[in-house]
Amino acid sequence: MNRELLRYVATRFGQLLVVVFVAVSVNFIIPRMLPGDPVQTALARLQASGGAGNVDIQAVSAAYRARYGLDAPIWQQYINYWGDLLTLDLGVSFANFPEKVSTMIASALPWSVTLLAVATLIAFSVGSLLGARLAWPTAGRGIKSIVPFLMILTSIPFYLLAIILIYFFAVVLKWLPPAGGVDTTRIMRLDWATTEDILRHAFLPCMAIVLGNVGFWALGMRSQMVNVLGEDYITFAEAKGLHPNRIFVWYGMRNALLAQVTALALSLGSVVSGAVLVEVIFNYPGLGSLLYVAIRGQDYFVIQGVVLMLIVSLAVLLFIVDLLYPLLDPRIRR
């Protein structure tokens, strides 16, 4: 490894640390800026909203007080907080006392990750291919006429697309289920029936995310391709008599994709934000719905846990993308 590359990796790692630090600190500081202590406030609100059920508030409160040392000075609390996080202790749910927040997150995470990964991958590849075709000089009028639709789709938030999709495909046509991750009566097994059920439930949420994103990738790719096709090396490749398809893929798309990958890294945050809301609309059993239920029930430690999980896992993912980037763009490796 040379110094240039080392510097690059170090900068990116620094960014990862900043994100994690900001996320943890925001999570720690904001609840404590309010009068009273966080457990007191959270429990009072829980009580007021009637969400506590038959939980013994005093016992919970005392347990938390002792457990998190809320009478200790603030800097010590902050250090304790970090210690808990590093041992993956995210606290205990108020509403489902005494279930651990980490357990709840662990059961929701696979749903979210799969949905988001598949949808983003489809949107990214379909959009990029479409955008590249749009930029090609021989693109026909037919394909060009979809540009306005792409623009409209890009500008509508995709959780609103989700509502429209539910209405047409689940309420009017009744082709697909309107909500949930699987049939409520289904016993989860590793067989075709279960898989089909999961796929049927995942289709509409996935479509909402894909439709909402595909235009962004197509329009981005189109403008990148237009730039790349103006470069001298394309003219040179044409002059050499290379086959147009070869120029299109290896000289055009390959270079235009670099900017797309950068955009992917930058836009994942907003994609995740949107996907959280899509899950809420579909009542999909992922992190988004967990967050929504926790907000509704003022389940403080669950909210904190999910938020932290979202931020940190995305930061780690971006770090990995950043590490892969030099493989795509040899100029960074130099």
Binding site: V22, I30, S155, Y159, L160, V272, L291, L310, L318
Partner: protein, 287 residues
């Protein structure tokens, strides 16, 4: 005034004012007028809970039907739209103002200040905004539309800061800045007399983007039930329709109109920003 029109006409003939910009601005203008003129023809009390008969489909009595809390949807829409736009504009002004200040400082002074601002803004750009906003909004006791705009603005400055910083760095190297420096202008004079006027187009462009992003975030938070629930906004309308399962029960007139207005706002802002890019960058116009 004549010169203004002449300028406008020349720009249009040179192709700098694209149809996209005109369409985008017209859509936005129409939405603003809808919210400004509408109240003169409607009675605000019809948008209060229980004012009219609930769950009526659109008809001669109720133009867009009524929701299950007994509110007239048409009236609700007229009062909700300006509130949502207002939040976007306030958040846009604050976010862009703060971002511009940070971008100027980072670009002009460089060094460790620049490094700190750059790392923080780059890092925050990649964070899913909703996660941090949920924590902030969830801890506010009495939410109002103004506080909501402040909350959203807290994560609405990074893009502007980045753009402004990059532009300052480019412009600083231009010959006319060098001339100004040799003529004895100080750092602040250069910043405000030479650099600022040249980055104005970029600031306006980021403003459009920031307003759009802020409205998106506001509606998202409201859809989660974290908004100022007693105020009439488009996001709250979506939230209440979700709470009453309006989609599954087939009350399309409850959720479809706010979605259409929201979509129009975003399409208008999107076209304006694309069109404005061509206005500010004449090189793009020729393509």
């Amino acid at each position: 005034m004549n010169r203004f029109w002449a300028n406008l006409k020349r720009n249009y003939e040179q192709g700098r004012i694209s149809p996209l910009l005109i369409v985008g601005l017209s859509i936005l203008l129409a939405i603003v007028l809808f919210g400004l003129i509408g109240p003169f023809f409607t009675d605000v009390t019809h948008a209060q809970v229980g004012a009219v008969r609930p769950r009526k489909p659109p008809g001669p009595d109720y133009l867009l039907g009524t929701d299950s809390q007994g509110r007239d949807m048409w009236t609700l829409l007229i009062y909700a739209t300006p509130n949502t736009l207002k939040m976007g504009l306030i958040a846009g002004f604050i976010g862009v103002g703060f971002g511009t200040a940070l971008g100027l400082i980072a670009g002009q002074f460089g060094g460790w200040i620049d490094a700190v601002i750059r790392v923080i803004s780059d890092s925050l750009l990649t964070v899913p905004a909703i996660a941090i906003l949920v924590i902030i909004a969830g801890n506010i006791d009495r939410m109002t539309t103004f506080v909501m705009a402040l909350v959203v603005a807290s994560l609405g400055w990074m893009f502007t800061a980045r753009t402004v910083r990059a532009q300052v760095l480019t412009i600083r190297e231009k010959a006319y800045v060098e001339v100004a420096r040799v003529n004895g202008e100080g750092a602040w004079e250069i910043l405000f007399r030479e650099v600022m006027p040249n980055i104005m187009p970029y600031i306006v462009a980021s403003f459009v983007g920031t307003v759009s992003g802020s409205i998106l975030a506001v509606i998202g938070l409201e859809a989660l039930g974290l908004g100022a629930l007693e105020e009439m906004t488009l996001g709250n309308t979506i939230y209440w329709s979700q709470q009453s399962a309006a989609v599954l029960r087939g009350y399309w007139w409850w959720w479809a109109p706010p979605i259409v207005v929201i979509a129009m706002i975003f399409i208008g802002l999107f076209l304006t920003s694309v069109g404005f890019d061509r206005f500010a960058n004449p090189r793009l116009a020729r393509r």
